[in-house]
C-alpha cells in the first residue's frame, strides 16, 4: 500500500462486517467455504506430516492388489496393492497446488490484459481481445493438450498450460468490469487530478473490479483442477508414481468391472473439490452482486 496511514477504524470494520455478515448468511457460500477450507487443511497437514496417512502411497503390495474397501484399506487397494485412501488424501496436495498456481498466474495475466483493454479501449482493446478470442476458440482440453505436448509432460508445464488456457476467461471478465468502471466520474476526476495511466489502472480501476474477478477465479479454479485430472488421465499431466486424482482414474478405469473403488474414490474427490469451489464462487457472486447492496 502507499503512504496512507489511516488506522483501521470502526467505520472500516463496519464496512467489512457487513460483507462478512451477508456471506455467513449465504448457505451456498458457507458450504463451499467449508469444503475448500477442509481441502486446504488436508493438503497442509499431509505436506507437513506425510507419515500421517496409514500407508506409504508408493508402497506396492502386489499380493493384496485390487482389494475391496475394508477396515485396513477404507477405499480398497489398486492394481499394485497401493492404498487408495492414502493416495486420494495425498492427491489433494497436487490438485490444490496445480489449481492454485495455475489460476493465480491466469488471474495476473488475465486481469492485466483485460483491464488494459477495458481502460484504453479502441485499437488496444481490439488487438488484445481478438487474441484472447482466438485462444478461447479452442476447446480448453485441446489447447492444454497441445501446449503440454509441445513442451513436454511435467507438473510445471501442466501449470503453465492451464494458466494460458484460463487467461482469456479471466481477461474477458476483467475487461467488462473495467469497461463499466471506466465510465464512472471518479476515473475522469483522477485524470483531471493529473494521475498517470498506471496509477489509474491499478489504484482506481482494479480495486473496483475485484468482486467479479474473485468470483470468476474461484469458479475457474474448479475447472483447472478438472482439466489437470483430464490431462493426467490422458498421461500428459502429473507423471506416475505421483498420486494425482486424474492419474488414479486413468490407471483404474481398466479395472472398472473388478475394482470400481479404484475409480470411484478419486472421482468423488474431484467432484467434491469442484463442487466446493463452485459453491464458493456462486456464493461470493450472490454476496458481491451490486444488486444486493441496494437493501441498505
Amino acid at each position: 500500500m502507499s503512504s496512507e496511514r489511516f488506522s483501521i477504524s470502526d467505520e472500516r470494520k463496519a464496512h467489512y462486517g457487513r460483507f462478512i455478515r451477508q456471506f455467513r448468511r449465504n448457505q451456498k457460500a458457507m458450504i463451499g467455504l467449508g469444503i475448500v477450507v477442509s481441502l486446504f487443511v488436508i493438503a497442509i497437514v499431509t505436506s507437513l506430516f506425510p507419515e500421517i496417512v496409514p500407508y506409504d502411497p508408493g508402497a506396492t503390495n502386489v499380493p493384496n492388489r485390487e482389494a475391496a474397501p475394508s477396515l485396513s484399506h477404507p477405499m480398497g487397494t489398486d492394481e499394485l496393492g497401493r492404498d487408495v485412501f492414502s493416495r486420494v488424501v495425498l492427491g489433494t496436495q497436487i490438485s490444490l497446488y496445480v489449481g492454485f498456481t495455475s489460476i493465480s498466474a491466469a488471474m495476473v495475466m488475465g486481469t492485466s490484459i483485460g483491464i488494459v483493454a477495458g481502460y484504453y479501449q479502441g485499437l488496444t482493446d481490439e488487438a488484445l481481445m481478438r487474441a484472447m478470442d482466438a485462444m478461447m476458440s479452442f476447446p480448453p482440453i485441446l489447447l492444454a493438450l497441445t501446449i503440454v505436448a509441445v513442451m513436454e509432460p511435467s507438473l510445471n508445464n501442466v501449470i503453465i498450460a492451464l494458466a494460458l488456457v484460463y487467461t482469456p476467461f479471466i481477461a474477458r471478465v476483467a475487461r467488462s468490469a473495467a469497461l463499466s468502471v471506466r465510465n464512472e466520474s471518479y476515473i475522469e476526476a483522477a485524470e483531471a487530478r493529473g494521475e498517470s495511466d498506471l496509477y489509474i489502472i491499478f489504484r482506481e480501476v482494479l480495486p473496483n473490479c475485484v468482486g467479479p474477478l474473485l468470483v470468476q477465479g474461484s469458479i475457474n479454479i474448479a475447472f483447472t483442477m478438472l482439466l489437470e485430472a483430464s490431462l493426467s488421465f490422458l498421461g500428459l499431466g502429473v507423471q506416475p508414481p505421483e498420486p494425482s486424482w486424474g492419474l488414479m482414474i486413468n490407471s483404474g478405469w481398466a479395472y472398472m468391472g473388478d475394482a470400481p473403488w479404484m475409480v470411484f474414490f478419486p472421482a468423488a474427490a474431484i467432484a467434491t473439490a469442484v463442487i466446493g469451489f463452485n459453491l464458493l464462487g456462486d456464493g461470493l457472486r450472490d454476496v458481491l452482486d451490486p444488486k444486493g447492496e441496494i437493501i441498505e
Binding site: 464496512h15 481490439e126 466520474s185 471518479y186
Partner: protein
C-alpha cells in the same frame, strides 16, 4: 376529508407501506390520506425519499418484496383496491389506472415496435381484433401529437427522440381511456423545452377527456403549471394539502415554505437561497413528535414530543388547505423566509482573463469500432467514395473567464456543453482551436506539462455517487490530490483534510468513512472538498446540482458561492437549469448545436434583446408561482443531429422568428448588441426584432 368531497374518484385512507430491510423496518408511507376528484389534477411533491413514488405504487399495488402495504384503504370508484385479487388488479392496471413512468429512455422495450407496445395494452384489456387495436393505437398516437402516426407506428423506440418516447408512453397510458393517470415524474428526464410541450399535452388531454391525473414530481414549477391541488410529502407523511394557489400564496406548513424558498426563481434577485439545514430523518428511526421539527425554523418544544401531527384543516379554511403542523394557525408563512439583508455580496470582477477559449472545436468520429465512422457516400452523382462522418459536438466556441468570475454554459442536452468543459480541461483533445489558461497555451503543451497544470483546474461532476471511488475512504480521496501535487503530506495533510471537510459542512471525523455512507448532498460536498484540496484557480462544475433535491441544491449553491470569494475561484458552470445559472453566474453563454448563440452578462442575456433560442428557453421554464405563467414559446421538432447540422444558422429549422433564406444559407457571426461589446448574439435579426416579445407562435409540433 375535504368538505366538498361528494364522490371522489380515488380516496386513500391512512395508507401505510413498509419495507423490511436488513437494518430495520422502513416506513416509506406513513398514514397518508387524500382524495382525488374526477377530472382533477393533484400534485404530490417532496424530496427524494419522501414516499411519493411508493404512494403511487401502493395505489397500483406494485409494491414488491420486501415492501408491503401494512394498513389503510384505497377506494377507487366504488371498489376497495386492497381487497382485489392480483388477477382483478391486473384488469385495473393499464386499463382504469395507468402509470406514466419517469424515464422514457428505459421504459420502452427496445426490441418491440412502438405499435406492438401500444396494441399490447389494448388487446389485453379490450375485446378487439388486432386490426382494431392498431387503429386505436394510431388514434392514441395522433392524440399525443406524434406526427405521421400511421407511418411511425411500426418504428422502434430508438427511432424516436426522448420527448416523442414520453408521448408514446402517454399514448400507452391513454389507449384504454383510463379514469386515472399516475404520472411519476413524467418530465424529469426531459429538456426544459420538451418538458413544456409534454406538460401542455397533459393539460390538453385532461381538458378533452376529463381524466384525473396524479402528478408525482419534485418540481414545484411543474405543479404550479399543471395541478389544481397539491399534497406535500415529507418523510412518509403528507404534511400539507390544498389548492395550488393557496399553497403558493400562503403555505401552512413550514416545510412547504422552505421548498418554495429553495428554488432559485428566474426573475428573482441574486439573493442567497434559503437552504434548509440537515437532511430528512432516517425512516427507520423517526424522531418523537413532528418529523420535521429537527430542521424547522419555527419549531418549539411542543413539536418534539408526542406523536407526529396529523393533517388538520387550516382555521380560515381558505382553499381547503390542510396542514400537519401544530403551529399552522399561528404562523404566517406567506412571506419568504429569506431575510432582505442576506443578499449576495456584489463581486468586482477585473478584466483579468484566467481562461481564454478561441475557436474551440471537438469532432467525434461517429459510429462504433475501428471502421464505424466510414460510410459509403455518393457525392454529386459521381462514384461511391468512402467518407468519414463526424459528430460536431463543439463547432467553434469562443469565450473567456476572468479571475473570480462564474461563467455559465446553458443549453439542452446534446448541445455540447459538457464536451466544451472536457475539451477545455484537456480531458478530451480538441480538434481545433486555442485554449489559454493563465496565459499558457494548453492546446500546444505536452502531456506532462498539462499534468502539472491539472492542479489549477478541477472538475465537479453531476453524479456525486459516481465521482467518488467507492473503495476509498473520504480521507484517501481528498488527500490523494494533496499528495499528488506535493501540497501536504503526513500530519499536515490530515489537518488540512479535516479543515476542508469542516469547511464544506462535513465533520472532521468523516475522514474514515466510505462514500456510500453519505447522502447525495454530502457526497457532492466531498467532491467539492476534493476539488478544493489541490488549491485550484478554476473549477468546472458540470451540472453539479442536477441530481440533487431542491433543498440540497440550495445548500450546495450557497456553498459554491461562499468558497468562491474565500478561495479566489473562477467557475465554469454548466447546467441545463436556467434558474440555477441565473442565480449563480456572472456571465452566461447559451449554446445550441455546438455553437454559442448568445453570450453576455446574466442581465444582458436574460433581458431583451434576445437570441430567439434564449427567448424560447426562458419562456419554457415552469415558474413556481401559479399566477405568473408567461406565454410559452413552443419550439418545433427536436434538436437536429450534430452529425448533419443544418446549413446557415443551426437554429433556423426551429426558429420562430426565421426571416428567410439568409438564415438557411449564411452562418450568423456573434455581433455586439445594445452598444455593449460584452453582449453578443449570433443572429441575422435586427436588434429591434430580437427585442420584440414573441408570444404566439402557431402550432407546437411539426
Amino acid at each position: 376529508m375535504n368538505p366538498n368531497t361528494t364522490d371522489p374518484l380515488l380516496s386513500v385512507e391512512s395508507l401505510r407501506t413498509q419495507f423490511r430491510t436488513e437494518e430495520g423496518t422502513v416506513t416509506a408511507v406513513d398514514d397518508v390520506s387524500f382524495s382525488l376528484e374526477k377530472g382533477e389534477v393533484m400534485g404530490i411533491v417532496g424530496e427524494s425519499g419522501a414516499g411519493k413514488s411508493v404512494t403511487a405504487r401502493s395505489i397500483m399495488q406494485l409494491i414488491d418484496y420486501p415492501g408491503e402495504i401494512v394498513s389503510g384503504s384505497i377506494t377507487f370508484g366504488d371498489r376497495d383496491l386492497l381487497s382485489l385479487s392480483e388477477e382483478e388488479m391486473q384488469g385495473v392496471r393499464g386499463n382504469e389506472i395507468t402509470l406514466i413512468p419517469q424515464d422514457p429512455m428505459t421504459a420502452l422495450n427496445p426490441v418491440l415496435t412502438v405499435g406492438q407496445q401500444i396494441t399490447e395494452t389494448i388487446e389485453l384489456h379490450q375485446d378487439v381484433s388486432s386490426a382494431e387495436a392498431r387503429t386505436i393505437a394510431i388514434d392514441a398516437m395522433r392524440e399525443v401529437e406524434i406526427p405521421a402516426p400511421a407511418e411511425r407506428i411500426d418504428e422502434y423506440p430508438h427511432e424516436f427522440s426522448g420527448g416523442m418516447r414520453q408521448r408514446i408512453l402517454i399514448a400507452i397510458g391513454l389507449a384504454c381511456e383510463p379514469d386515472l393517470i399516475i404520472a411519476d415524474e413524467p418530465t424529469t428526464a426531459l429538456d426544459v423545452t420538451t418538458q413544456a410541450k409534454i406538460l401542455d399535452l397533459l393539460n390538453d388531454l385532461r381538458e378533452k377527456h376529463g381524466v384525473s391525473i396524479l402528478m408525482i414530481t419534485h418540481n414545484l414549477g411543474v405543479v404550479a403549471q399543471t395541478c389544481d391541488r397539491v399534497g406535500v410529502m415529507y418523510a412518509g407523511n403528507l404534511v400539507e394539502t390544498g389548492a395550488v394557489s393557496s399553497i403558493f400564496a400562503r403555505p401552512r406548513h413550514p416545510y412547504t415554505r422552505t421548498l418554495i424558498d429553495a428554488i432559485p426563481a428566474v426573475d428573482s434577485d441574486r439573493d442567497r437561497l434559503y437552504a434548509l439545514p440537515g437532511s430528512m430523518p432516517d425512516l427507520k428511526s423517526l424522531p418523537d413528535g413532528c418529523n420535521f421539527a429537527e430542521r424547522c425554523p419555527h419549531a418549539v418544544d411542543a413539536c418534539r414530543t408526542g406523536d407526529d401531527p396529523t393533517l388538520e384543516p387550516a382555521s380560515d379554511g381558505e382553499g381547503g388547505s390542510h396542514a400537519a403542523c401544530i403551529r399552522s394557525d399561528e404562523l404566517d408563512l406567506s412571506e419568504s423566509a429569506v431575510e432582505a439583508g442576506d443578499a449576495r455580496q456584489q463581486k468586482d470582477i477585473a478584466d483579468d482573463p484566467l481562461l481564454e477559449v478561441n475557436g474551440l472545436k471537438k469532432h467525434f468520429p461517429s459510429g462504433d469500432g475501428l471502421f464505424g465512422n466510414l460510410s459509403l457516400a455518393r457525392t454529386d452523382g459521381g462514384g461511391l467514395t468512402l467518407e468519414r462522418r463526424y459528430v460536431k459536438a463543439v463547432d467553434g466556441v469562443d469565450f473567456t473567464i476572468n479571475r473570480g468570475e462564474t461563467v455559465g454554459l446553458v443549453g439542452e442536452s446534446g448541445c455540447g456543453k459538457s464536451t466544451v468543459a472536457r475539451t477545455v480541461m484537456q480531458l478530451l483533445e480538441p480538434t481545433a482551436g486555442e485554449v489559454y489558461f493563465d496565459g499558457q497555451p494548453l492546446h500546444s503543451l505536452g502531456k506532462s506539462a498539462i499534468r502539472s497544470l491539472r492542479q489549477e483546474m478541477q472538475i465537479i461532476f453531476q453524479d456525486p455517487k459516481s465521482s467518488l471511488n467507492p473503495r476509498k475512504t473520504v480521507g484517501q480521496i481528498v488527500g490523494r490530490g494533496m499528495e499528488k501535487h506535493g501540497i501536504a503530506t503526513g500530519d499536515e495533510k490530515r489537518e488540512r483534510i479535516a479543515e476542508l471537510l469542516e469547511r464544506v459542512g462535513l465533520q472532521a471525523s468523516d475522514v474514515d468513512k466510505y462514500p456510500h455512507q453519505f447522502s447525495g448532498g454530502q457526497q457532492q460536498r466531498i467532491a467539492i472538498a476534493n476539488a478544493l484540496a489541490v488549491e485550484p484557480d478554476l473549477i468546472v462544475c458540470d451540472e453539479p446540482v442536477s441530481a440533487l433535491d431542491v433543498s440540497v441544491q440550495a445548500q450546495i449553491l450557497n456553498l459554491l458561492d461562499d468558497i468562491q470569494a474565500e478561495f479566489g475561484l473562477s467557475y465554469l458552470f454548466i447546467s441545463h437549469n436556467i434558474s440555477v445559472v441565473q442565480h449563480i453566474c456572472d456571465r452566461v453563454a447559451v449554446m445550441y448545436l455546438g455553437k454559442i448563440a448568445e453570450i453576455g452578462s446574466v442581465d444582458q442575456v436574460f433581458d431583451a434583446p434576445y437570441h430567439p433560442y434564449t427567448e424560447s428557453l426562458l419562456s419554457a421554464v415552469p415558474h413556481p408561482t401559479p399566477e405568473t405563467q408567461p406565454e410559452r414559446i413552443l419550439l418545433d421538432g427536436t434538436v437536429p443531429s450534430p452529425l448533419d447540422p443544418p446549413s446557415g444558422c443551426p437554429f433556423h429549422t426551429r426558429c420562430p422568428k426565421k426571416i428567410g433564406d439568409v438564415c438557411e444559407t449564411d452562418v450568423p457571426v456573434p455581433e455586439p448588441v445594445g452598444g455593449e461589446s460584452t453582449h453578443q448574439i449570433s443572429c441575422h435579426l435586427s436588434e429591434a426584432d430580437m427585442s420584440d416579445p414573441l408570444y404566439e407562435t402557431g402550432e407546437s409540433d411539426a
